[in-house]
Amino acid sequence: MMTPEQLSEFADQICPMHVIFDASGRITSVGPTLRKLRPDFKWTGQDFFEIFAVSRPRWVRSVGDMLRSAGVKLHMNFSSEPQTGLKGVLAPLPAGGGFLNMSFGISVLEAVRDYDLTSADFSPTDLTIEMLYLVEAKSAAMEASRQLNMRLQGAKIAAEEQAFTDTLTGLKNRRALDHVLSRMIETGKEFALMHVDLDYFKQVNDTMGHAAGDAVLQRVAQVLVDCTREVDTAVRVGGDEFILLLDGLTDAETLERIANRLIECLEEPVPFEGKLCRISASAGTSLAKEARPRDAATLIHQADLALYAAKNAGRGQHLFYQPNMEMMG
């Protein structure tokens, strides 16, 4: 039969986090790792329940309960700060009292940091070091994956941006228009759709060349952006056709003012290689209001009718859609 001293020495080797207490709950032996967690404690002779609080099972409140808990997983923590969580299992000793073996359980990550534990503090059969290794390795791998995801996300946004952008003018393209328009309709906002068509652009292209035409288009894009707000959307839908979506704006007077200013700016000659390119523009606007039709095709169609009415009225003009335009169209 082992003496208590022999048992204690033996336990230090195999279970660096053991506690042995006698039938009255007085601690008689403590493993080296546990001692390291509370270096200032005088362990031996202390009441087990003074140092530890058992949280589960809830019925374990006394030494007698502890001894009856043999084989059951116990959850406890230090009563003093830091209240590191521990788990353990108890086996009653033949001479009375119990032998409790503990480990950190999931709190081991904090414990290693809080108490500056090293490999030597864990039994060689303990998988804690492997677990710490795994946590770090997985965190590192996860971080690499996360960065890859972020780069892919960035690339995706850039690709989408590109897919929605007209390369010559930097304005939104037809695909973006469908997207933005259907979203505006879905959200039920009021807005105006202004269809702008350049006048005399073909002449510029034919007489001064494509490079001049491109310069004009870039200038037009600049004007469209300058004459609208950040929340509005300027789209190049075709060679010399543009659509403006004016968010939350259905006031006829304001829209008229914007259209006129737009046309005025577009009529300013664009210098190109020492010559001046002159164009103008016509515009037609349809409104998306509560009572009005709220589908994209109708709105675009109505703006088209207004635009052609404006062209027929002598170019360089802006008109709102009127129901009677349907007959004329």
Partner: protein, 195 residues
């Protein structure tokens, strides 16, 4: 080859020779891109093209550069995670050496599609070892040599390393562990990693 390996090569060249030289290497390799992604897999021949382009552009023997890369992987703060993972292998250098047998398995535990050739440590006499680096990854033993050297510094130990040749297709490194705690090593705390 795993992106982590390619990425390591990239980090080494960029850090040691500069971004410009890395771009020249990649231009010569002609892969159509400049940056490797750590978490993607690349065909082996792409890695070989990069290595051979390095030899031309940087004008140094490949074996020498790979050994430097091994050292870089342990000693550069950029690769601190790797150094820490290696330090988990043992509390002292000899224990670390013994943990090398598990290194490919450990690597696979961290990144399941990262396959490293087998390593086998043979202790011939106290302080005298041979590390057998199985074939499968050209230049593996050169990189290992650099890692062993840098880890010795990390532990503060003095070792003598030598390539002693090829046996059954496997490269052999001889390791003579001269002195423990020869110099002050770098500190290692289990919980230093912020979780």
């Amino acid at each position: 080859m795993h992106g982590l390996i390619n990425r390591a090569i990239q980090a080494f060249v960029t850090d040691t020779y500069g971004e410009g030289r890395w771009k020249s290497v990649m231009d010569l390799a002609g892969l159509g891109f400049v940056e490797f992604e750590a978490m993607l897999i690349y065909p082996d021949d792409q890695s070989f093209k990069v290595l051979s382009a390095m030899e031309t552009v940087l004008d140094r023997p490949l074996a020498e550069m790979l050994e430097d890369m091994g050292t870089f992987l342990v000693s550069n703060p950029q690769a601190e995670a790797l150094r820490r993972l290696l330090r988990f292998g043992g509390v002292d250098y000899v224990e670390f050496l013994h943990s090398l047998d598990d290194l490919p398995d450990r690597a696979r535990l961290a990144v399941s599609d990262l396959h490293l050739p087998t390593l086998e440590l043979i202790e011939q006499a106290p302080g005298q070892f041979e590390l057998i680096c199985a074939q499968g990854l050209p230049g593996y033993s050169n990189v290992m040599m650099g890692i062993l050297r840098a880890m010795a510094d990390d532990y503060g130990d003095l070792v003598i390393l030598d390539h002693v040749g090829v046996r059954d297709g496997a490269d052999i490194i001889s390791i003579t562990h001269v002195e423990s705690q020869f110099a002050e090593g770098r500190s290692f705390s289990l919980g230093a990693h912020s979780l």
